[in-house]
């Protein structure tokens, strides 16, 4: 029997996870199609609960990858291939892509449930008002059809659910957000920051705004997430759900509604489009 869905979301990463959550919470029967493999949360592929001596090959990925010319992009970026995180990156030799010779493009991908939301660096900055006005002012590109004020409530919405730590620093280019307690600066960072403040009035060194939770809300703990344990193991996947990812946050929230179906190991190859209505029919 053919099962119908109100919505089909292609990809389960950062964007797909949010789309699935929003549609499911608004009562739409939602299908998420993900090209990569299924991952649980917490996953047996997470390596955050392994001590350095427990990591496969003491953390070093096999040199056979080098010999076979694999994971070149990742190697260029990270210098060393590591067994703690290589499983969350796509190998361009296995999944090749093309670009013009003179315009090489480094495309870091993660083909699994959750996509790159597992390996992103968690820096969570808002655009400021100036960013929306710059195109119109300097004549480059297309002027934004919206301004900061249109987007601000949505930043609030996303930050509240995701759990972002940071400080409201009173800087117009880094607008205030809905932040959990900021992380401490180290004594060296404090020293540098204070000296910059003393000597360079138009420069500011502030603590990062990061999707590592310091004061989880009830909504977050109800999803099984706990505060970040300050280990810097995020790229290994986080058993605590301490940082925001589709696996730890949006997909579980979508699942809790009973409206979510996920199909993994399935590539959406095309989208059926209805010219008359101007809408997608399926894929």
């Amino acid at each position: 029997m053919k099962q119908g869905y109100d919505v089909i979301v292609v990809g389960s990463g950062m964007t797909g996870g949010w789309a699935a959550k929003e549609f499911c919470e608004k009562g739409f029967k939602t299908l998420v199609i993900e090209r990569g493999r299924h991952l649980d949360h917490p996953s047996t592929e997470y390596k955050d609960m392994q001590a350095p001596w427990q990591l496969e090959n003491r953390g070093l990925a096999s040199e056979i990858y080098d010999e076979q010319g694999r994971y070149r992009m990742l190697k260029t970026k990270k210098k060393k291939l590591k067994t703690e995180s290589i499983q969350f990156f796509a190998d361009e030799k296995e999944y090749p892509y093309s670009y013009p010779e003179d315009r090489p493009f480094m495309w870091t991908r993660g083909y699994h449930l959750g996509g790159r939301s597992l390996t992103w660096a968690r820096v969570s900055l808002r655009f400021g008002p100036k960013d929306f006005e710059a195109n119109a002012k300097d004549g480059h590109g297309i002027p934004w059809p919206i301004g900061y004020d249109d987007l601000a409530p949505w930043y609030d919405y996303v930050e509240t659910f995701a759990g972002i730590s940071g400080n409201n620093d009173g800087l117009p280019d880094q607008p205030a957000g809905v932040y959990q307690k900021p992380w401490d600066m180290s004594c060296a960072e404090e020293f540098v920051s204070q000296n910059i403040a003393k000597n360079l009035k138009d420069r500011h060194m502030i603590i990062g705004r990061t999707a590592n939770m310091t004061e989880p809300t009830e909504v977050q703990t109800n999803l099984g997430r706990t505060k970040c344990q300050a280990r810097s193991y995020c790229e290994r996947g986080c058993t605590f759900g301490g940082y925001f990812s589709a696996l730890a946050a949006t997909l579980p929230a979508a699942k809790n509604t009973g409206n979510l179906t996920i199909v993994t190991d399935a590539i959406a190859s095309h989208i059926d489009y209805d010219e008359k209505t101007g809408k997608a029919l399926g894929c």
Binding site: E56, N57, L60, Q87, W183, D184
Partner: protein
């Protein structure tokens, strides 16, 4: 994709594999304080393991903290040669051992394993200095690579990390010495 010998799935399936560290049968030669390894490993011969064990212990000697031998550095290295090392590294590390043997013979007219401890220490110290002073030679490249691996294995060992906490729970960016002492004695601040 025909040339991919390890598929992504097989790799992930095998991800729980841990490098085994069998303890090699050994005896201490009292006359020159050398730990002689009696049996071959998975990759290295008994003689190569003897030289490696000695060199690693000279690099990271046991003091008030564990040494390379305590941390089973060479046992782990022997396993890693099969699970991690590519052909170039395998050759490079074997060659380094041969080069150390040749140095011992050329300098003292005897094999490395027969030298007294002070001469072995002196030989490795001089090799170390030369390797870092002139990085252009093959010997320098080989030696520095081996040294890097010995330290990597040591620093990632359980023995070298007695205070390792998998879940520290919190982060304090700027602590006074008194606060740190408090935390180390079990207080929450």
């Amino acid at each position: 994709m025909q040339d991919l010998k390890i598929s992504r799935r097989v790799f992930i399936g095998a991800a729980m594999y841990l490098v085994s560290a069998p303890i090699f049968a050994s005896s201490l030669i009292k006359s020159n304080k050398l730990l002689k390894i009696e049996t071959s490993g998975q990759f290295y011969s008994a003689l190569e393991l003897t030289v490696l064990t000695d060199v690693a212990e000279i690099m990271i000697p046991k003091t008030t903290t564990p040494g390379a031998t305590d941390a089973h550095v060479v046992n782990i290295l022997d396993g890693l040669m099969l699970t991690w090392a590519g052909a170039k590294t395998k050759l490079q590390f074997k060659t380094t051992i041969e080069q150390i043997q040749t140095l011992a013979n050329d300098t003292h007219g005897t094999s490395y394993a027969d030298l007294p401890l002070n001469l072995r220490q002196q030989l490795i110290e001089e090799l170390d200095l030369a390797a870092f002073n002139n990085k252009q030679t093959t010997l320098s490249a080989n030696y520095r690579r081996l040294k890097e691996m010995i330290f990597h294995i040591y620093y990632t060992s359980e023995q070298a990390n007695p205070d390792f906490k998998l879940i520290p729970g919190s982060y304090h960016g700027n602590l006074s010495k008194q606060d740190l002492n408090k935390i180390n004695s079990g207080f929450l601040i």
